[in-house]
Symmetry: C2
Subunit: 154 residues, 2 copies
Amino acid sequence: MDHPEEFSRLLTEVADRAYLTTIAEDEYPHTRAILNLRNPSIYPHLADLFDEHRDDFLIYVATNTSSAKLRQVRSNARGSVYYCHPKRFRGVLLVGDVEIVDDGSVRRMLWTDGWEMYYPEGLDDPDYSVLRILPKYGTGWSGSERFEFAVGQA
Amino acid sequence: MDHPEEFSRLLTEVADRAYLTTIAEDEYPHTRAILNLRNPSIYPHLADLFDEHRDDFLIYVATNTSSAKLRQVRSNARGSVYYCHPKRFRGVLLVGDVEIVDDGSVRRMLWTDGWEMYYPEGLDDPDYSVLRILPKYGTGWSGSERFEFAVGQA
């Protein structure tokens, strides 16, 4: 594949959800579906933000402070996020360390109408947390062709 | 939740695909979409097989011998398979060690018309391999309710 980065970027935008994996305390990998904030059809107000991060493939995850993934990330930061085409055999995995973001401006920037369903107290709900991943590399598949690329090595 | 096992079993049957995670050599988790052989609408000829394994949640994965996941499993057996409802926020993760199955009768039992697309030489294609996971536990979500159950502890 000639342009795996561009192909992968599009995949992260077309996927209707994403799959975050972290390492549990027993060292087994735990995966769960997450909202795919990089999809500009679902989150149009975040499209410019992610456009500014075209080259570093920045990922944000909104999650419950009380969730297992936060506990897991505190003991082992290694994680990955998988995006795949809803219908075709195309997928990309972005791999890197998961950080917990304490910055209030980031929490505000990501906040989306309707999230009161997850965080009843709104933006200041103590159960609203944000995770950030700056991937080290990506790897994926287009049909049976496998590709891999480094991120942020410029 | 009163019957997490039964709920989880149904989820593994309704999901159109599954997500297998293994641990790569760099200790980061790698996830990829796999065919969900437990879905009886897609694989009716395998429904009886999985019905016999209702209680142990046996998972089989057909894959390429040359794939990264086989190499990863040889160096670290810890893995998990995630199933989620295609539309609703319901998912279950089955967690356990991944084994490579050398048994020819299992390869034959799982073989599905059309897999020549992945393994051109058919059933005896050296690139056709089978993985098996006998989960230790399951954990999942039904909306915002989290549940967990042990498997095979009877």
